[in-house]
Amino acid sequence: MIAAPITVEAVSFAYPDGTHALDRVDLAIEPGQRIAIVGQNGSGKSTLVRQLNGLLRPSTGRVLIGGEDIVARHVAQLARTVGLAFQNPDRQIFAGRVRGEVSFGPRNLGQRGMELERAVEGALVATGLEMDGDTNPYDLGYSRRKLLALASILAMGTPIVVLDEPTTGQDARGLERIRRIVADLSADGRTVIAVSHDMRFVAEAFERVVGMRDGRIVLDGTPADVFSENEWPTLASTFLEPPLPARIGARLGLGPTATDEALLAALSASD
């Protein structure tokens, strides 16, 4: 699957209560990219990703997908292109059975029969919910409802997948599962955009990191770049800390080591 490029052009956004959440944001995302958006609570991350599927519309500026301004496209049309898993799964979940929840999206996109079955089963397996198809979503714990919200988006097979805080409440195994889902989506040529506070997850699972502060983009690069020592002051201004391996690598003068793996490689090479 080849996703379309996304271009955010000088997008500003203010909520009805007057809160200015985005301030002339420019962002170009290549098809198939794995991109993490980081920043403090309230820095505009969730507001930004909601512009991509038409849930929110820019006050000024525009969003293009595949070169086409999405202003004229309805949320339902955009749902074929952009799937967004909410931060709070309970704002998304409504069906009485897990399987019903997961099949709602692809069914609405016109999938039926075997095609629908496959989409639903694939999403349930990827999220580890294959044994819970007949469970009521509200009998699942929070972390599994979170995975269910993710499964519902995966099942739609959209070329662009947006995950708002996917790792919230996940244990070590859940984290590993989500890392694998991101990698698989990307290997399939799909674009993955995630909002996250988990710097280890960001450094290990994404190839590009965008840092936001007060509705603006203040950092943009690979995890190695963004977490390298010369960016620490900017990171600190967004109240973020580089992951521990980056801090250890800097102390040892090893250069950028954003992940455990990079740190170990740099250590071994310094021998």
Binding site: G39, G141, T168, M199, L244, I248
Partner: protein, 280 residues
Amino acid sequence: MSGDAIRLEGIRYQYAGSRSWALDGVDLVVRSGEIVGLVGPNDAGKSTVCLVAAALAPAVAGGRLEGLAWLVDGPTSELPAHEAARRCGVLFQNPLAQLSGTSATVWEEVAFGPRNVGLDRGLIAERVERCLELLRIGHLAPRDPGRLSGGQAQLVAMASVLALEPRALVLDEPTSQLDPEGTRLVGEAIRRVAGETGSGVLIVEHKTALLASIADRVAVLAEGRTVLTGSTLEVLADGSLPELGVDPPAAVRIGRTIGAAGLPPGLADRAMAAITAASA
């Protein structure tokens, strides 16, 4: 048992309509002024422990409880719900489920609890201001609680719980939606509350690094059973954590990786020293 905020002894608990024991052997003590962390994989029963410790199960949730559950001044078995709510503040996993839905502003939301227990107006205002300040969310005071970000809602819910100054606090993943700075602030607030008010705090948390910095002791729950309890350092450095589905703090994880990498002793020592320095 005087001095215990929460004491669970030989606890088994079965949800209404279920035939299996959600908890099957939980032993846990939280003394006044103490912070105890509870970790474990999803589905281990951590949130159920919270319900039992706060006297919400079986009193509100139904089901069947065996063993002794003690809350501040006595066993929970004979505790009326309003008395349990006074003794124990609870922060649930989903902060939006916790907001009263009746308050027009964050300020009113935080005042909701103290008003309900009939505190006088001056004292209510004082407590609200103090709790908002403690979590650095004074600027949210005039905002509509229904229009907050997930992280902001979590801080507001936390302030509402603290405003009641309960003698026991049960916090179910209080920082799950918070950025690193918010997480640090909540950690500090919890420590201050335990230190200043003598409240005993039970905190469920996946962020083991946070527990490393605030908890006095940590217990590990697996399949409804407390399998490991001890000092924070002891438990978080225990080699069995990854097997149990718990991520140890980054410093422990990286230390282990480097220790196993077979680096020359000089280099390994420098690396270990850097871990300690970088995680301080």
